[in-house]
């Protein structure tokens, strides 16, 4: 392959560590969160009990997945106070941090789909089915309707996100097969297919991020030399263009799409330091 390696230029310009800073931070976050859940069952010393649907930290802090909670409500059950409080805390956190921070910094399936995307680039897989990114919102709607119609949290019967996380903590069983299906789907059928097109959990958290202040900004977009590395690594590449190239339309420099996962990979791979974490509110700081 004659194509240059993505991020090589950034590594040369900024050094390897700075070119992988946010990726390493994100993997550390994913591993650390999983480790917190695993310490209890493995050592008998309980820090966090439960899983991502509901967890209880040090017997004081309840955290509940608001999407599951919403499905439960639609199914006709009003959850007890502890679960509702946990849901409120999570809603408040992601409304500020950006909903899809859940996807890129917490979700255990992210490592799987990132691996599929990386392998897809390495193998140069181009072919595949076309799938609109709006499918996830239809999926979200469908899961909510299903909860109301069946009176059960039907989506949790098949949700690979919760199945993988629960499986890692309580025993995986055949859940690995579903994870493998997601991996192969992303690798061969639709690039970034699961997280970027289908997953209703991500769609729910996208809607949470509509007004979230913490954002990636194309602060120094004038320096962009169109190397395209950011587009290549971005799991939601449609979010970049309006901010990066929309100056003449009065768009940007904030990446305002709720689909942005705040993964920070664009900041890493940009050799010219175009991107940075910032807020939606602050002034554009020209440099």
């Amino acid at each position: 392959m004659s194509k240059k390696r993505i991020g090589a230029e950034a590594a040369a310009a900024k050094g390897w560590w700075r070119a992988h800073k946010w990726l390493l931070a994100r993997r550390s976050s994913q591993v650390a969160i999983l480790a917190l859940f695993l310490v209890g069952p493995l050592t008998g010393y309980w820090i966090v009990k439960g899983n991502l649907a509901f967890s209880y930290t040090l017997d004081v802090l309840p955290l509940t997945d608001p999407y599951v909670l919403l499905q439960s409500l639609l199914a006709g059950h009003v959850p007890a106070a502890k679960a509702l409080m946990g849901g409120a805390i999570i809603l408040a956190f992601y409304a500020v941090a950006g909903g899809r921070v859940y996807c890129s910094w917490v979700c255990p399936l992210n490592a799987v789909t990132d691996l599929a995307a990386w392998l897809r680039r390495q193998l140069g897989v181009k072919a595949g089915a076309r799938l609109p990114r709006q499918v996830r919102y239809w999926m979200l709607g469908a899961t909510l309707v299903l909860a109301a119609v069946t009176g059960t949290i039907a989506w949790e019967l098949v949700n690979p996100v919760s199945m993988l996380h629960r499986g890692l903590i309580f025993g995986l069983g055949a859940a690995w097969a579903l994870v493998a299906v997601v991996f192969l789907f992303d690798l061969f059928v639709v690039g970034r297919g699961w997280c970027g097109h289908v997953c209703p959990v991500g769609a729910f958290y996208s809607l949470l991020a509509l007004k979230s202040p913490l954002r990636v900004r194309t602060a120094r977009r004038a320096q962009c030399d169109d190397c395209m590395d950011c587009y290549a690594v971005c799991p939601e590449m449609h979010v970049i263009k309006p901010a990066l190239k929309g100056a003449h339309l009065g768009l940007g420099p904030v990446i305002s799409s709720p689909n942005c996962t705040n993964c920070g990979r664009c900041i890493d791979v940009c050799p010219r330091d175009v991107f940075e974490f910032g807020t939606r509110l602050g002034q554009w700081r020209p440099t």
């Binding site: 509901f54 059950h77 007890a80």
Partner: protein
């Protein structure tokens, strides 16, 4: 001219939008339909599987349980498990199998206290009021007591001995039999009797109450009980 072009391109856009919407609605609809059928299959529990104490009746339990596993963690005897996808219980929900590990009926009911959503009803504060199921002596042809022996293991292990299971004397033609008899007003469905039954396949089993308990109905009631009440 210009206007006509704009109008037709607007029409084309609208057409494309409707087509896209129809495509997605149909695609997602197929998936949702499949999932709805699967959800329907998962509504009932297999007969040998029991829910923790205080569980709301199926299938509304599956609308209330968010599958966090806190009940599993707080069960001091490690009896509960979360269903794996290949098992016949709704994925991620807690269950136990009486024949393998029956409920120990903790007085403090830690599993119910741990439940954050109330899928296990917090109103259950007396474990003797739990109704996880109902014991039924299903096989009278193999039950050793029915055969005239004095096995009585189910009776001895019952946490509510002489209430939930009583031995009732029955005069046979050749000899007396002591029949283990379950009383539904006391049986919690803990499963100790099913667990302890000495036969290869238990002669006494726990079933969902709705599947085995009938009602005399308003028009048929025992006259002597009525008289006693008056």
């Amino acid at each position: 001219m210009e206007e006509g072009k704009a109008a037709s391109s607007g029409k084309a856009r609208r057409r494309q939008f409707l087509l896209d919407a129809a495509r997605m609605a149909c695609g997602v609809g197929v998936l949702a339909g499949t999932l709805a059928l699967y959800a329907k299959q998962s509504r009932a529990l297999p007969p040998h599987v029991l829910r923790p104490p205080g569980a709301r009746p199926e299938p509304s339990y599956q609308g209330a349980c968010i599958r966090c596993g806190l009940c599993v963690r707080d069960c001091p005897y490690g009896i509960l498990d979360l269903a794996k996808p290949e098992e016949r219980v709704a994925t991620g929900t807690p269950y136990f199998i009486a024949r393998e590990k029956p409920c120990e009926m903790c007085e403090s009911i830690p599993c119910v206290k741990a439940c954050p959503t109330g899928a296990l009803d917090h109103g259950l504060t007396d474990i003797n009021k739990a109704r996880m199921g109902l014991a039924v002596l299903v096989d009278q042809e193999t039950c050793l007591n029915y055969l005239g022996m004095r096995c009585e293991v189910c009776y001895r292990v019952c946490p509510l001995i002489d209430k939930a299971i009583k031995l009732e004397l029955q005069q046979g033609q050749t000899h007396a039999r002591f029949i283990p008899t379950v009383h539904s007003e006391h049986c919690t469905g803990c499963g100790k009797c099913e667990y302890a039954c000495v036969l290869d396949v238990a002669a006494i089993k726990i079933f969902p109450i709705g599947a085995v308990k009938t009602d005399l109905g308003a028009r048929r009631s025992a006259g002597w009980q009525k008289k006693a009440a008056q």
